[in-house]
Amino acid sequence: MDHCAARAGMGMLAFALLTPLSGCRAAQGGSSMTAQSTMNLPAESAAGAVPLGQLAGAPAETATSLSIANPYEHNPQAIQAGRQLYLQMNCAGCHAYNGKGNMGPDLTDTYWRYGGLPVQIYNTIHDGRPQGMPAWKRALPPDEIWKLVAYIQSLGGTVSVSNYEHARQGDRPGDLIAPEAQAEAQP
C-alpha cells in the first residue's frame, strides 16, 4: 500500500474509534424524551409572577418574568410530544386539528388575548381562562405544559421572547388583530 493510503487509513481509524465514543453522548432521537430529567424548567413561582392585564404599577421583576424562555422551544421531540398532548387532551376539540380555531380562538395567528409570549401561553394553559379554557395545572405537570407551548410556538403565531416589551399586556380586541380576522371584524 502506498504512503498516502496508509496516512489516510490511520486518519480513518482514528475517526472509526472516536465515532462510537462520541455517539454515546446524550443520544436523542425517536420519540424518546429521556433527556428531560436534565431539562431546567422555569420555576413555577417565576411563571406565576407574570401578571395579566394592564401593567402600570407592576413591580420591576415583571420584565424578568416576561422574558422567561421555553426550554423546549425548537426541540423536535418536544414539539411532537406537544402535538400528541394537543390531540390526547382534546385541545383540538375547541382549537381545531390545525390550530385554526373553531369554538376556541385561532392559535396560529398573531392575536393573543391573554398574551402571546411563551410564559403567557403557559399561564393560560396552566390557569385556564374565562369563557371556556380549562385549567390544566392539576392534570398536566409543568414539563408537559411547556411541551404544549413548544407545539403552539411551532405553529408560528406566538411572540418571540426577545419581543417581550411589545407583549406586556394582552391584546385588546382590535390590537394587532390578524388581517383575516380584521376583515371579519369590520362592521
Binding site: S31, S32, A139, P141
Partner: protein
C-alpha cells in the same frame, strides 16, 4: 488445573439446564393446541438440523484428517490431475438433502394447516390494543353493560379456543405469548387475528416482539388461564362497582386522582374517563404494573407514580408534581381498588 477445567465445562453445560427451571418465556414445552404441533415440529426440525451439522462435521473432519497415500509427497504434483470426478458427492448429498427437505416441507404444511384455525369457533373474543408500551384489553359482552376494559393482564378460561383481535394505537408491535401461540404482529391500519387455547391453568408470560420504541424491552403481558368458574368470577369482578373510598385519606386520594390522573386514566364508575393510559378499574386484581415491569405493591405504585421516567426511561406517563401527602393519599386510594 484439570479438575478446574472439568468443573468449568460441566458448569457451562449445566448452566443451560439450570436455567430451564425458571424460564417463563421459553417454548420448548408448550400448553395449547395452537402451538403444540409447532413445538413438535420445531424439535423435529431442530433434531434434523443437529444431525446435519454432525454429519457434515464428521465428513469435514474425515476429509481433513484422513490418511492419504504417501506417494503424493511431491507437492509439485496435483492430487487429482483432471478437471472432473467427485460428482457422486454432489448427487448423493443434494439428493438426500432434497428428500429430507421435501419431507420437512410436507410436515410443515400439515402443521400449518393444523394450527391455522381453532378446533371449534371461539366463544370469547378479546380485543387487544397495543400502545407504546402497554396493552389495552377489551372484553366485549353480549350486552353493553357486560363489556369492560382492562389492561396488561389477560384472563381466559382453560380448554377453550379464544380469539384475539389485535389493533395498534400507534406503531408496529407484536403480540407473543410463546407457551400458547406463535407471534402475530399488530400493525396500524389493520386488525390481525390470532387464536389460542390454554390447556393447563397457570400464568403465562408474553412480551412485545417488534421494536416499537425505547421501552420495547419492557412491554410484557401476562395471561392467566383458569377454570371456567374462576374465569366467570373474574369477569363478574371486573364488571362490579368500583368500591367507594371510605377513609378521609382515600377520599383525598380520589380527589387527587380526579385532578391529576383522570385526563389519561379511567376508573369506571368515577368521574374519570381518560383514554391515553391504561384503564385502572380494579387495579389491585392485577399482579404487575407498568406492563409487567414492576410487581403491583403499594411501594412500587408510589415509586411509579412519583417518577415513572426513573423506572421506565422514555415512558409517556409524566411525573406529576405531587406533595408527599398527595402521593401517599392517591397510592392508598389506588390500593382500595380491588
Amino acid at each position: 488445573m484439570r479438575p478446574r477445567i472439568a468443573m468449568l465445562c460441566c458448569g457451562l453445560l449445566a448452566a443451560p439446564a439450570a436455567t430451564w427451571a425458571e424460564t417463563p418465556m421459553s417454548y420448548q414445552r408448550t400448553f395449547g393446541p395452537a402451538v403444540d404441533p409447532v413445538t413438535r415440529l420445531a424439535w423435529g426440525l431442530g433434531t434434523v438440523s443437529l444431525v446435519v451439522i454432525v454429519v457434515i462435521g464428521v465428513l469435514l473432519l474425515g476429509s481433513l484428517l484422513r490418511r492419504r497415500d504417501a506417494a503424493d509427497g511431491d507437492s509439485g504434483q496435483l492430487a487429482v490431475r483432471h478437471d472432473g470426478g467427485g460428482m457422486a458427492w454432489i448427487y448423493v448429498g443434494s439428493g438426500i438433502s432434497l428428500v429430507v427437505l421435501t419431507g420437512c416441507m410436507v410436515w410443515t404444511l400439515i402443521v400449518t394447516a393444523a394450527v391455522a384455525r381453532p378446533p371449534s369457533p371461539p366463544l370469547l373474543t378479546v380485543q387487544v390494543t397495543a400502545s407504546q408500551w402497554w396493552w389495552g384489553l377489551r372484553y366485549q359482552g353480549a350486552q353493553p353493560d357486560r363489556t369492560f376494559t382492562t389492561a396488561n393482564e389477560i384472563h381466559i378460561p382453560v380448554g377453550q379456543p379464544i380469539r384475539f383481535e389485535l389493533a395498534s394505537a400507534d406503531v408496529v408491535h407484536s403480540f407473543w405469548i410463546p407457551q400458547l401461540a406463535g407471534k402475530m404482529d399488530v400493525i396500524p391500519g389493520q386488525t390481525n387475528v390470532l387464536w389460542l387455547q390454554a390447556n393447563k391453568p397457570g400464568t403465562y408470560r408474553g412480551q412485545c416482539a417488534a421494536y416499537c420504541g425505547v421501552q420495547h424491552a419492557h412491554m410484557a403481558i401476562f395471561l392467566v388461564a383458569e377454570s371456567a368458574q374462576d374465569f366467570a368470577a373474574w369477569q363478574n369482578h371486573q364488571l362490579a362497582e368500583t368500591p367507594m373510598p371510605v377513609s378521609d385519606s382515600d377520599r383525598r386520594g380520589e380527589e387527587v386522582f380526579q385532578g391529576h390522573c383522570a385526563v389519561c386514566h379511567t376508573i369506571r364508575g368515577t368521574g374519570s374517563a381518560g383514554h391515553v393510559g391504561p384503564d385502572l378499574t380494579h387495579l389491585m386484581t392485577r399482579g404487575t404494573i407498568a406492563a409487567g415491569l414492576l410487581p403491583n405493591t403499594p411501594g412500587t405504585l408510589a415509586a411509579w407514580i412519583a417518577n415513572p421516567g426513573s423506572l421506565k426511561p422514555g415512558t409517556h406517563m409524566p411525573a406529576q408534581v405531587l406533595s408527599g401527602s398527595e402521593l401517599k393519599a392517591v397510592t392508598s386510594y389506588l390500593t382500595t381498588l380491588n
